[in-house]
Symmetry: C2
Subunit: 233 residues, 2 copies
Amino acid sequence: MITRVILVGVEGAYNLGVVARTCVNFGVEELYLVNPKADLNEALNYSAKAREYLSRAVVVGDLKSALEGVDLSVSTSDEGFSRGDVLRQAITLERLPELVKSRRVNRLGIVFGRESSGLTREEIAQTDLLVTIPANPEYPALNLAQAVAVVLWEVWKMKGVAPTNVPPLAPRERLDKIVSVLSELTDLAVTPEDKRRRIKTVLRRVVYRSGMSELEARIVLYMLMRLKRRVWR
Amino acid sequence: MITRVILVGVEGAYNLGVVARTCVNFGVEELYLVNPKADLNEALNYSAKAREYLSRAVVVGDLKSALEGVDLSVSTSDEGFSRGDVLRQAITLERLPELVKSRRVNRLGIVFGRESSGLTREEIAQTDLLVTIPANPEYPALNLAQAVAVVLWEVWKMKGVAPTNVPPLAPRERLDKIVSVLSELTDLAVTPEDKRRRIKTVLRRVVYRSGMSELEARIVLYMLMRLKRRVWR
């Protein structure tokens, strides 16, 4: 799925720069700007490693052009509900991923409004859905670039890209080995057979539930082996 | 549960202001600043309606003081994994809510580092867990205030606070009424009994799956009633 972020009338250069960076952070393929008020050259300075990405953003004159080729269009607002107003009948952000997934959307367009005044009624009416972040009822209005981050995170999670900045988990065999050494240590430390069994059950569960990384498991095993040698001496 | 956000050595006044706003957006009770480099007075200008909240932030001299009273401490980094480094063995953000929930944490402390250089090794070592946002492998480093927004959103969702900016869903009776009118219309439009049954099954499912709000259901029902009258005329 291709994701297209569409900023309508973005006003702040800092926000624009940070939004571009956030788009790269969450693998957004396309960035469209409808009548940006912000200075694009200034925004480049705030986009960090997304500088080149931002310079390739597509600038258009109206929302209709920005929505071309999109097969599900979503507008965003913190005012997701207003009694009697058919335009302000939003779904919460949590429901978006499932909806996008089940519809097998090819190109998702997500529209964000102006920092000062959001999207106009005409703009919201041009999209298929209105989505809101169900934040603190006392102050639900997020800053633009924060709202973009939260929405894109939900869409990114849906894609299920394998992360490279988390460690690989320990292989089954390493955990088995840890359980086995813990079992030997239990036999050394405790005599009654029923107590041993109980303890072994607990240790085994703790080990398999721990989510140890490869490195962590190796180090735990090292410590246990040293301990074993020490006890047997 | 109380959430405490701890910013260590925050450098940018804009980031600090926006983080404070984001904290209010996601119901964060406590904001601690460890040796902030940013100008606090300048930051107030960027905090929107979180101005008073930011002015009550607790400024301390070291991370240890900021972690007092916290019963689960989490540090954050985009470098969640480094081969052979016991400090860089992070869990992904998705796993945090379940962990916090199942431990029945009273006060969760979430530590964010400097924009330029993140947290030091000593700082990470002072916390119970390292958490990372599994973003685009090609560029996983989010801007500080963006990372705060994404992490706080996940914690906020866990709290399950009922949103006020989404519409109330249609009551069961209204949907029943819609299904019933659709059924009458089907009887009017289609003759063979087996076809009628198939159509009614489909319409019923579509209605109950639609997630119509109170207002939307009322308007749909209105349209159907008008249609019915028109057909019978």
